[in-house]
Symmetry: D2
């Protein structure tokens, strides 16, 4: 089958001919219909420090996708050939403390599709049956392919008390933008989106931000304090991973407020813990992935309720063959989500 | 001054000439501009068992209002003459365990305006300075006068996890209707309103219910189970006080779900605790009043954000002199909130 | 093999010769070394209304036990022959909403060992591999056989905030007694145990109760209020199922306090929801079983830490052949836990 | 009156003759019977960066004390002359968002006794009536004088789920030692105390630590992981403020665990947020002071229950005149709490 893989320890991605995967115990084989590009894929493409530490070539990358089940292992009982499914990309061991206490998304032996095992930038991909989430016919498959980032936003935002809070979101990539849309319909009194890219701030406005701040032009923290009677925001979602943004996130939160850390800083961050966490009694929570599978039940409900419209988030549609072009677009920041068709 | 009071231990209400109240320490005197009718007022009017047990005539009743401060005690520092204010009607002692641990709304020695002390069905009413909440000029005073029931809805609904949940609301009086509007904009996947009065169910639809059920015509619990893949609702708000509704509320909630009890049953209720609470591991929470003053900060934010439109809730406007007519309307159930002008 | 079963729809229990069970997929076969008697077994023995509704004879009963694995199915990977294990008796489907969101103990299709499938009053019993919990050599097997009731206590008590709270426990059967021991070492400011049986109150004293009340002799609620400066208890654990106790539990809790319902009332209970739940803003939580498997990790830790001594709880040791005698003892209330050896 | 004050912007402390304070509105005057030395006092004594930024001489320092009320303002209603009281040293404005929502300990305009206003290293000190906590006769006044650090430990430890958790405490100063004693009796499965001073680790052992680690000699994180089957600790309390300890605290916590930050780092700290907070989904909470006044009710209950014995914590008793000597002792680390008698 056709696939795109990291085959050498250097920047770039290569088209390869790979063998079609064979589902093992409790696995299903999916024909990829739509796959989309995540920041992680771009890290691997660029071959930055994080990628160098985590990727062992050859590896077919990509992990956000939706498709059709075309084969199931004999012991699979929850899906059948022909089902349309989206995929949870976190593969849990099922046996560690975290897995056995309802937290398999932070499994002690977590593997990630397209990082630790072969992924979805290919014609076919195999996944454990429990990771395949059925998509009802009324949901367009394009929407299904971007459930993962919306799922990140659901997991991150609902870890805080959104209803009745002033919410600030640092970083307007696809997850940040999803969080804007989600918090806006979840009782936030205000949703302020902060980024340094006007294109993305424009998308944030479209997705429902009550205010956008370009923090290159304006002192975001001062502005947030002004908007909240000097108190600071009740909930801050950090979704950029930028050190400046992380520091501002902590400065922008009010006493007793909540900072959700989702964006991954590429190196250590300096923090003024005394003033920005301790004297404030801030609640800080790291968030990764999606709750398996509470988040997915919520995603299903959100799609059925039509409360969140992800269409504005999908800014580009291309062939999987144009993956180099897609990666460059991600690098420019001038895009929302890019869908690729194998 | 003109006032309406319960002066005898019998049904009805009487117009009296009362002395204008004089603010004591830390109190303000408010000229009532708009006051509205609450279910409690109707209980007192009808002189039902609850009223007989709680009211010692003579008592000026009424507790939902907004108005202008026309006098402040010398030690008042947080308000001044001319301020427009709404009122929190719960008067807390400030010294008990609850008051000293941030829960003065469940003060061990709580007094209620219009029940334990003279209320707002009058030209003037005095309240403690801390119970007067400033209303900014952009908020219409009619809206300000109905913040109390919206505050009940805020306190009740936000005691559960609304975002991502299927929500059922039993009882479509003003508080139930406010909860419909509030949960609809706070991330509920669906909001099902249940009542036995089609007029009120019509209002629920206007306020944003995704579905309404007249439980005289339909088995509400069966319907709710059908709508939730057989699981039951994640959050149930009981806002009627009807025994049948309370029992259905417990039957409608899913395993691990939350039942918020707000409506006051007039007598003891039979419950199947084994099947409806214990085997389900239901979370049950009683709710009364509003958090002092977290709920009020949220109300202020909600009004500023224009997320909740209370206009459809206000179905009638009358003179305070027409209070008898207003009470009859409340008795009929064919109304939302009735505003009275002194 | 030898087993004791309900074979007719009438009181009593019968010794039978049964076929030794054969482990199916993901199951293990355990040679029972010690099994103990639970209130549920006594309900089935007596053939009360609950038993009539839930048991379909023939059924080998019993579900609390520890033993040695003597056979494993070919696909079992987490245990091996020779392992000493205790058993979680709740059998979850693994596929419903509850199972997939970390709450398999309230699985929508829950089956219980010794109730819905054959149990442990036998020489051998088979269970799913995930329900077998390994017991390290330093833990006596007698202790291992009574982990289930201690697990109930762990799950029930830790659902409330025990540290810094005044705790009341209604009902001093084995689970109530375990809760006494557990809350006493978990930061409760005081632990008051209430029962109507002086023998069991004596055990409660031994297990660490700071005070015991025989509620036949004394007004328990008045006493509890006196001991808490009139406020009521912060946490009340209802572990008897008696209607009188349930009602007292709600009356004994303070405003804003927590009532945990664990004991199963045999029929509907009348409650004054207005005064005892709503005006108080009580938190009420139903509890059943044990969290799978967070509770078991805690049990393991508790045993290793030697914080809780379960020895005083084990009051009788008999042969499984003496099961009739054991049942009579349970009926008298003059016992703690009774261990049976097959 | 005799008092000890910082009178110049330089290291040291000076005995002065000061005017006896006069209680203002809602204030009481207390004759100091016992006062104790806190790390904050030592910061001011040394005149380190923090002190230089926060102290404006002349200032009588000291804030931990117990004494007798000898005068009350006319409007004081909750205390009377002759009452023995301990003091909450955080002075809240009563009007900001935090104060009005039950969080006055993180008041937006917080002032601290002995830092922002004159303190307790004196014969007399005045405090707001609400900050005076009555001490019953059965509590020795020496114990009453050290309720503040125990209160810090109560507030910090109970912000996490202690029952059923493995707990690590970094830093064995008086607050860390109090936390050792408290968590040990609050259901912690294990309490590991970490410091670099063997004297203090010896005290930790006496206070109930199940294990102590001198992190100069041993890799504390590796040791903690070994003790927890490789998972890490469920709850980590950081009570030292040392950068190394803060970093280790984050590395020692398990996936999904809780880090409580209480110790104040003297400058910014570098953190690996990706690995130590985000991928772990750690819960991080800053803690300062004591909850006003929930913590104090708990302190009262703890003292009455005799669960926590603070005697081993009090290692030295001196005259207030020996304050220089006391400060040197604090600097050496070879002490627990030092009590001073004016």
């Amino acid at each position: 089958m056709k696939a795109f893989a990291k085959i050498r320890r250097e920047p770039g991605i290569t088209r390869i001919d790979a063998e079609q995967p064979k589902p093992g115990n409790h696995e299903v084989l999916v024909k990829v219909r739509v796959t989309s590009v995540c920041g992680t894929d771009y890290h691997i493409y660029r071959w930055d420090e994080w990628a160098q530490a985590h990727i062992r070539p050859p590896r077919i990358i990509g992990h956000e996708f939706a498709g059709e089940i075309i084969e199931v292992a004999p012991d699979v009982s929850t899906h059948k050939v022909g089902d349309i499914v989206a995929a949870e990309s976190h593969l849990a061991c099922g046996r560690c403390y975290q897995c056995r206490t309802g937290n398999s998304h932070i499994c002690e032996r977590l593997a990630i599709l397209g990082v630790d095992v072969d992924g979805s930038f290919a014609e076919y991909v195999k996944i454990p049956e429990q990771n395949a989430w059925p998509i009802p016919p009324e949901i367009p498959i394009q929407t299904a392919s971007v459930l993962e980032p919306l799922g990140n936003a659901v997991h991150a935002a609902f870890a805080a008390d959104i209803p009745g809070s002033d919410v600030c979101i640092f970083g307007c990539g696809p997850v940040g933008l999803s969080a804007v849309a989600l918090t806006n319909v979840s009782g936030a009194l205000s949703v302020t989106a902060i980024d340094i890219n006007d294109y993305r701030l424009g998308l944030a406005k479209t997705m429902g931000a009550s205010k956008v701040i370009n923090s290159k032009a304006v002192d975001a923290v001062a502005e947030i304090r002004r908007d909240t009677d000097g108190r600071g925001a009740g909930v801050v979602l950090e979704m950029s991973g930028s050190e400046v943004a992380v520091r501002n996130a902590f400065r922008a939160v009010r006493n007793g407020g909540t900072v959700i850390l989702f964006g991954l800083p590429s190196r250590e961050v300096h923090l003024n813990l005394a003033d920005d966490v301790i004297f404030k009694e801030a609640h800080v929570r790291g968030i990764v992935g999606r709750e398996m599978f509470k988040t997915w039940y919520m995603l299903e409900g959100l799609l059925k309720s039509r409360k969140v419209d992800l269409q504005p988030l999908i800014t580009h549609r291309m062939s999987l063959n144009q993956i180099d072009e897609a990666m460059k677009l991600v690098g420019s920041g001038e895009c929302g989500k890019i869908l690729l068709t194998p």
